[in-house]
Point group: C2
Chain length 521, copies 2
C-alpha cells in the first residue's frame, strides 16, 4: 500500500512542485503525502526532506524559510499552540507560578559557569559578534535555554526562607543551531517554548513539583493532542545536562517506528545552586542551598500530533486544539434554492458558534464542493457539515467525520447537541486509536537477539536493563546504521514486575528496571 502510494507520489511530485494553496494541485495528488511517511521510506537522514514536508506546508501549518532550520508558524499552527498555552498558563498560575521575561542574550562568562551544562549546549550556541558595522567587545550568546540566564538573579533575590519557593515561567523563543537534519516542529534551530524555573527549600517540594508539571504535560498530549504518552525517567546518559534527574513524557510514532521525547521536567538538584551560589537562611537561621527544577515543552508537541494522527488525506486535528472544529460547506445544485442553502449554512454556523463550537463556512464561489472537501480534509478539520437541496428540504445537515469518514444526517433541531457529541467522540476516538496503534508497537524482549529483531521491526521495546551508562553507550554503538542508533527512551514509572534473577538484555548483568528503547527523533 505504502509503496503504491509512493510511486503515485513520485510520478506526480514534479507536476505541482511549488504550488500554493491558491493554485492548489488536484487533491488526489497531494493528499496521501503524509508528513511522516517519507521518514519511513527513505534512509535516515531522509534524502527527500521536501517531500516529507508537503502536508505541513499544504495544510498551511508551516512555511519554509530562507534560513535553513527556521520555519514560519502559520496561523493554522499558531492557533494550536495558543490553545495549549491557554490551558498550561492557567494551570501553572493556579500553582502560584508567575510569568516573567529574561533577556534573549547571555554573556559568555555566565553561560559557561556550569560545566556539564555548557558541554551539553556549547556546540549549538549561536553567537552575536557585531552590531551595525561594529564588532562587539565580547561575543554574546543567544539563549539555548535560560538556566544560566536566570540563576545569577535567583542568587540575588533569594536571601531567606520566606523568599522560597521562587517559581517562575516564561514563554519565549530559544535557539539551538543544530546541524542534524532539520524537521519542522520536531527539530528546528529556533523554536517556541515555555520554560519553568523554580527553587525550593527542600528536595521533597522540588520532587513533588517535577511530577505535578509532568502530569500537565501528559494532559497536553493525551487530553488535548489525543496522543498517548508514557511517563518515566530518563537514563543518566539521556538526562538534562547538569541536572540531577529528568522525567519525561515519551510518545511514539508507529508509522516511522520512532520514539519522541514529548516534554521534560527536570530536577536540577543543587548543582546549579552551588555554581550560582543560590543560598538562603533557613528557619533555624542556618545557611542552606536551594533545590531547583526546570521544565519545558515546545512547539514539537504540534509535530508529534501531526505524525501520530495524520493519514493519507493529510492532517487530522483533534477537536480540542483545532481552530476550526466544524467546516460548513454549501452544496448547491443547478436548479436548487442556492440562497436557501447559503442561509442554512449561516444559521448552522451561528447556532454552533453560540454554543461555543468553532465553526466556519466556506462560501468561496471559485471552488467546487468536492475541492473544498479535500481542502478541509487536508487541513484536518475534525467535522465537515454539508448542506445541499435534499438537506434543506429535510431540515437536516449531513455531518462527515474527518477521522473515520463516518457520515450521519443530523436534524437541525438536534444540531448543537449531536455536533458536540460527535466532537467529543472524535477526540476520544483519536486517542483510543492512537493508543491501540502505539500499544501494538510495544514489544517486550529479554535478550539481545529479541531486541535486535524488534528494533528491525521498528518497535518500542521494553527490556530489563542493568541501568549502567556504559551499557547504554554500547547499545548505541552496536545499533548504529542508516536508520540511526537505538537509545533508551525512558524507564516507565509504571514498572512491570521484575522477577529476581532477571538479566539485562544487553549486558547479561542483573537487571535493575524495565526500560523503553528504540530509535527516536
Amino acid at each position: 500500500m505504502r509503496r503504491a502510494l509512493t510511486a503515485r507520489f513520485c510520478a506526480s511530485f514534479n507536476s505541482w512542485r511549488g504550488g500554493s494553496m491558491s493554485e492548489c494541485p488536484p487533491p488526489q495528488v497531494v493528499l496521501f503525502v503524509l508528513y511522516s511517511e517519507f521518514v519511513d521510506l527513505s534512509p535516515w537522514p531522509a534524502k527527500m526532506p521536501t517531500a516529507r514536508l508537503r502536508v505541513v506546508v499544504n495544510g498551511e501549518m508551516i512555511e519554509y524559510y530562507d534560513i535553513s532550520g527556521c520555519y514560519i508558524l502559520r496561523p493554522w499552527a499558531m492557533s494550536i499552540w495558543e490553545v495549549m498555552q491557554t490551558f498550561f498558563d492557567a494551570e501553572i498560575k493556579k500553582m502560584k507560578i508567575k510569568n516573567c521575561y529574561f533577556p534573549l542574550f547571555v554573556s559568555s562568562g555566565v553561560l559557561q559557569k556550569e560545566k556539564d551544562h555548557i558541554e551539553g549546549f556549547a556546540p549549538e550556541v549561536a553567537w552575536v559578534t557585531k552590531s551595525g558595522e561594529s564588532e562587539l567587545e565580547m561575543p554574546i550568546a543567544i539563549r539555548p535555554t535560560s538556566e544560566t540566564v536566570m540563576y545569577p538573579y535567583f542568587s540575588k533575590w533569594i536571601r531567606g526562607h520566606r523568599d522560597l519557593p521562587l517559581r517562575l515561567n516564561q514563554w519565549c523563543n530559544v535557539v539551538r543551531w543544530e546541524f542534524s537534519n532539520p524537521t519542522p516542529f520536531i527539530r528546528s534551530r529556533e523554536f517556541l517554548w515555555q520554560e519553568g524555573h523554580t527553587a525550593f527549600a527542600t528536595k521533597e517540594e522540588a520532587d513533588t513539583e517535577v511530577l505535578d508539571i509532568l502530569e500537565l504535560y501528559r494532559r497536553i498530549y493525551e487530553e488535548f493532542l489525543a496522543v498517548p504518552v508514557i511517563k518515566g525517567k530518563k537514563s543518566e546518559h539521556e538526562k538534562f545536562a547538569g541536572g540531577l534527574y529528568t522525567t519525561t513524557v515519551e510518545a511514539f510514532v508507529p508509522n516511522t517506528g520512532r520514539g519522541v521525547q514529548g516534554a521534560t521536567s527536570h530536577c536540577l538538584g543543587q548543582n546549579f545552586a552551588k555554581m550560582f551560589e543560590i543560598n538562603f537562611e533557613n528557619e533555624k537561621g542556618e545557611k542552606a542551598m536551594v533545590w531547583q527544577n526546570s521544565w519545558a515543552y515546545t512547539t514539537r508537541t504540534i509535530g508529534v500530533m501531526i505524525m501520530v494522527h495524520g493519514d493519507d488525506k493529510g492532517l487530522v486535528l483533534p477537536p480540542k486544539i483545532a481552530s476550526v472544529q466544524v467546516i460548513v460547506i454549501p452544496v448547491p445544485y443547478k436548479d436548487a434554492n442556492t440562497q436557501g442553502i447559503f442561509d442554512a449554512c449561516d444559521a448552522t454556523v451561528k447556532s454552533l458558534n453560540e454554543a461555543g463550537i468553532r465553526a466556519e463556512t466556506d462560501f468561496r464561489d471559485n471552488y467546487s464542493p468536492g475541492w473544498k472537501y479535500s481542502h478541509w480534509e487536508l487541513k484536518g478539520v475534525p467535522l465537515r457539515i454539508e448542506i445541499g437541496p435534499k438537506d434543506l428540504a429535510n431540515n437536516q445537515v449531513r455531518a462527515v467525520r474527518r477521522d473515520n469518514s463516518a457520515k450521519i444526517d443530523i436534524p437541525m433541531a438536534d444540531l448543537v447537541c449531536q455536533v458536540k457529541d460527535m466532537l467529543d467522540n472524535i477526540q476520544q476516538s483519536l486517542f483510543d486509536v492512537a493508543k491501540q496503534k502505539r500499544d501494538a508497537c510495544i514489544q517486550v524482549v529479554h535478550t539481545w537477539e529479541e531486541f535486535a529483531e524488534a528494533l528491525s521491526q521498528k518497535k518500542m521495546i521494553l527490556a530489563p536493563w542493568c541501568d549502567e551508562e556504559e551499557v547504554e553507550k554500547d547499545v548505541k554503538t552496536r545499533t548504529k546504521g542508516d536508520m540511526g542508533a537505538a537509545k533508551s527512551l525512558c524507564s516507565p514509572f509504571d514498572q512491570p514486575a521484575l522477577p529476581e534473577g532477571t538479566l539485562c538484555f544487553a549486558s547479561g548483568k542483573p537487571a535493575k528496571k524495565w526500560t523503553y528503547w528504540g530509535r527516536s527523533y
Copy 2:
C-alpha cells in the same frame, strides 16, 4: 520640593545601594526616588542612570541585567503586559487578524531589500556570525522588526483577490542594538511587542485599519494605563522608514517635560509591495499591487505608565492592569484577637476574589504593618485594606487609596460593592489627574521666541507649521543642547482652526497645520 527630596535621596543613597526586597531599606529612604525624577534633575543623558531606576527595581518591575540595555521583566511587570495582551489579542481576533510566528533571524540579502527601511535600522542590527566554534557562511541578522522577514512570504501567499486581505500579527521579541542611553521599558536593546502586518486590495481598506488599530492603542493607554494620549500623524522626518505615513498616540511626561511616542500604526503604501513583488490578480483579472500596513506597541507602554503616575512613594498602578488590586493587611495589637483578625483578612480576600477582584493578604510575621504599608505603596497597589481590632469589633475594614491616600471605613456587608466602586473611581481619577497635568503642559505658540521660551519650560508645544522637512531639521539643529533637541511629536487629528495667513513658528512661511513639538524619549 524636588530639590529637597533629591538631597535626602543623595544622602541616603549609598547606605542601601544593592539592597534587595528581602532586606528592604527603610521605606522613607527609597520611596521618593521616582523612576522618572532624575531625568529631570540631571543633564541628558542622565549622569546617574542607576538612581533613575530605583523605583522600577525596588518596585520589583525590573532587574538590571549584566548585558547593557537588557532588562529582566519581573512578574510584577509581566502581569501588566499580559493584561494588555489579553485585551489587544481579543480585539484583533474580532477583526479577523490571525496570529503567526516568523523566525527571529533574517538573511542579510532580504534585510537590505527596501533601501529606506534598512537605512533606518542598519546601525542597530545585531548580527550572528558564529555557531558553536564555527563561523557561519553568511552573517545572519536578528530582526529589528519583521517587514523584510515576512513580505517575501506575502508575495508567495497572495495570488488573487480572494487571498486578500491578509492580516497577520505576532507577539515576539525584537532587538535594536542602540547606543543611546538605555532606559528600562523606554529604550532597551531587546523588547517585547506585537507587530501586525497586513495587506489589502485597496488603499481605503488599509487607511481604515490604520485608524482602527490606532484606536485600540488609544484604549490601551487611556482605558487600561490611564494615560492620556494625543492621536496624530508623524512628520515626514519622523515617519516609519520606508512607509507611506505613520499615525501615533503621543503621551507626555509632565515631570520631565518630554513627549513619548506611545505606539504607532503605519500605512506602508505600496513601497514594500513593489520591492517584494506582492502582486495579485484583481476581480477584473488585472495585475495589481497590494496596500500594506504595519503596527506595533511595545513594553514601552509600561514605562510611560510608570512615569506618568508614579509619585514620591513609588509606583502607582491603575486598577485595571494591577496584578494585585487590593492588598489586605492584618493590624494585630498585643492583646487583640489575632486569629480573628487573620480570619477576617482571609474572609475579605475570599469575598473580593469571588467577585473577580484581584486581592491578596500579606500575613508575613517578620514585618510590621507600617513596613507593609510602605512596601505595597512602593509597588503601587491601588487599594490597601487594613483590618485591626477596632475594625473587627465594628465588623468593618479600613480602605486606603494609593492615588490620593483617602481613607474610608467600609462595613463588611458593603465590602464588594464599595471596593468595586473605589477601584473604578481610582482608575478614572488617575486618568483625570494625568490629563489635567498633561493639559497644563500644553502651550500654544506662534513665534520662535515663544517656542524657545515654552521649550525651556518643558512644555508640550502646539505650533502652526509649514510642514517642510528642512524646517524640522533646522528646528532640531537650533535646539540642540544638554537636554536634547526638540522635534515634532505629531500633527493632531483634532486640529484647532488655522486662520488664513497664519505663519509657521519656525520658518515664517505660511503654516499648513498645527503640530506638537517638544523634547522626547
